[in-house]
């Protein structure tokens, strides 16, 4: 019987097949590191007197803690500064390449890897960050790990793992204008739930996926974890190869030819079978937004806030009541009437050049509503540079948005960019958990174009409302 894409990549990295109750041992091609989940791993190495086995397969960047303004100044928060300084000292001690704040290649770890051409089809990629699933857009098997596993990979360049199950997510048809891969993934999560992908690698397939750019594919794979999945993957194709060719760490010359020949074999065989399968009709999708406190609590923008009293299941009713209470929302109100205070465009989900371009297109010759502050935070300094070369920064600032330096920014409350209690955002990030963007903050997850339209109108909106 044939193999799925995920199984092919898994099998190509088997150092040792599992025996008895010991799982498979998998080789890791690329280990990405950032300041939050690594200090205790390096400390563990030091305590056990262990070295980093392959510093040449390891790359570090500063992202979670960095401020996005005044990056030439020392970080004001002493605790954040300590964490960043600790990463610098650890990279120095263990010989790991680091892109620190202010560096031309600095940025969010999941934006930096692909942009350097380090993320390649058929690779195994890990990072102490759940959004490592992003890299699966290239046909890599990429997943988030905890700090103990970070230490394990640093010491051995391998991980003991039990095989994942596989789920096909078929997205057939054509997305309408203004509907993006963000809307697709939010629809997928609301369909299968935040736990629906547990234990699975999701493979996104179908005509709508084939038509997507690499940026759009990364957005979708990025949020696989929000469905509980270990990873999301997309088979590499000409779009993938075109994105990679010429990047600084992509193979060149004969190596390129050999690589592409191999990469072309990375497709699920016709006679392979998945453990589960769902199909989504792309033609029917409309912009999707979340109303609650987990990414599965989302609806098409044209709908109304759900009414807990109409929910039969007691647990779900309770969860809905809790979410609406936290979010400060009333049942039955049209989502389009929900007014926001802040719009955040950025993050490892939607902080790439295409995201900035599509949002800028909507903001061109328009103004951000007086009642709204809008932060535009490129995913990396390279994205920022590219956007500035295209004049996008001027479009944003002329519209009244703030143009920032690269980092995780308002996606999570670890740096100065945060919501205040009760403040409501439309955010292109990935999590609407309670307090995620700052204590008491209320988050609606949206696509970049919905973010831009919302900034103009001040209430949750799609471009067609303008």
């Amino acid at each position: 019987m044939g193999k799925t894409l995920a199984e092919k990549v898994w099998d190509a990295h088997l150092v040792r097949q599992g025996t008895g109750h010991e799982p498979d041992l998998l080789y890791i091609d690329l280990h990405l590191v950032h300041e939050v989940t690594s200090p205790q791993a390096f400390e563990g190495l030091r305590l056990a007197n262990r070295a980093v086995r392959r510093p040449d397969l390891t790359l570090a960047t500063e992202d979670h803690n960095v401020p996005t303004t005044g990056i030439d100044l020392p970080i004001a928060d002493p605790v954040s500064r300590t964490q960043v300084d600790t990463l610098r000292a650890n990279c120095e001690e263990f010989g790991i390449r680091l892109h620190p704040m202010g560096d031309a290649e600095q940025g969010i770890v999941h934006v930096v890897g692909p942009q350097l051409g380090l993320t390649q089809p058929g690779a195994t990629v890990v990072c102490g960050d759940s959004h490592t699933s992003t890299h699966g857009a290239f046909g890599a098997l990429a997943f988030g790990i905890g700090t103990s596993e970070v230490e394990h990979v640093l010491a051995t360049q391998t991980l003991p793992l039990k095989p994942f199950k596989t789920m096909a997510i078929n997205i057939e048809g054509t997305l309408r204008p203004g509907v993006t891969s963000k809307d697709v993934i939010l629809a997928v999560i609301s369909r299968i739930g935040t736990g629906g992908g547990q234990g699975y690698v999701l493979e996104y397939r179908g005509t709508a996926v084939e038509a997507m750019s690499m940026e759009a594919r990364m957005t979708m794979c990025n949020m696989s974890i929000e469905a509980g999945a270990r990873a999301g993957m997309i088979a590499p194709d000409e779009t993938t190869f075109a994105y990679l060719e010429g990047r600084s760490h992509a193979p060149a010359g004969q190596q390129w030819d050999a690589a592409v020949e191999y990469w072309k074999t990375l497709r699920t065989d016709e006679d392979a079978s998945f453990d589960a399968e769902i199909t989504i009709n792309a033609d029917e999708l409309t912009p999707f937004v979340t109303w609650g406190t987990n990414p599965g609590q989302g609806l098409p923008l044209g709908e109304r806030i759900p009414d807990p009293e109409r929910i039969a299941d007691a647990d779900e009713r309770y969860a809905t009541e809790k979410a609406l209470d936290y979010m400060g929302l009333k049942p039955g109100v049209p989502l389009r009437d929900v007014a926001v205070d802040t719009v955040f465009l950025g993050s490892c989900t939607n902080g790439r050049i295409e995201d900035l371009r599509t949002a800028a297109e909507i903001l061109r010759d328009r103004k951000v509503s007086d009642d709204v502050r809008m932060l535009v935070v490129p995913g990396s300094m390279k994205v920022r540079e590219q956007a500035e070369a295209e004049g996008l920064d001027e479009v944003f600032t002329t519209a009244g948005a703030q143009w920032r330096s690269a980092g995780c920014s308002m996606c999570l409350g670890m740096n100065p960019d945060q919501l205040t209690p009760g403040e409501r955002s439309a955010s292109t990030s990935n999590r609407n958990f309670e307090g995620r963007q700052g204590k008491g903050g209320r988050t609606h997850l949206v696509s970049p174009v919905v973010a831009a339209a919302t900034a103009v109108r001040g209430t949750l909106s799609s471009p067609e409302d303008l």
Binding site: H21, T37, L57, T58, G146, G195, N294, D315, R431, E434
Partner: protein
Amino acid sequence: MEPFTTHTGIGVPLRRSNVDTDQIIPAVYLKRVSRTGFEDALFAAWRSDENFILNSEPFRHGSVLVAGPDFGTGSSREHAVWALKDYGFRVVISSRFADIFRGNAGKQGLLAAQCEQSDVEMLWKLLETEPGTRVTVDLEQRTIHAKDLTVPFSIDDYTRWRLLEGFDDIGLTLREAETIGAFERTRPSFKPRTLPAAEK
């Protein structure tokens, strides 16, 4: 790692589903570079509410957390496990765990015991009607006992074995350094290295 065979302690009913790791430990507490001392950070936002269960006797002394489905979703932060352990929890019981959380727990000797939601409901009822009930979790037998109630739980064989033996994962893998070296020699030459491009 300390071997884990059985544990007995006060059970805490946490009637919430989708307890994500941002709730278990908010991001602001992730800035520390130490591996211990996270007890104050556990459920920090919820604990600011005086009605939260861990703010009441006898639950504040609990060591067995009984939670709703989809426990530990979201961020990969292992700090969530450290915070639970530092607070005093040795076991979390749920009908469904997020994969990364489950993995992290196993590495740190926190037992993630998965059982049927109907059994979770029975435990909740018991712990709520008789606060302070002690729950015994037997990893050898894969059972949970509390008063007259005995329910089974599941855990994968590898994690169970490592917990029972108290094995360190890295030490186990390093015994296979030669196999890893042999694999490395077979890797295709087009695979990238992270060294600056000029030094490729």
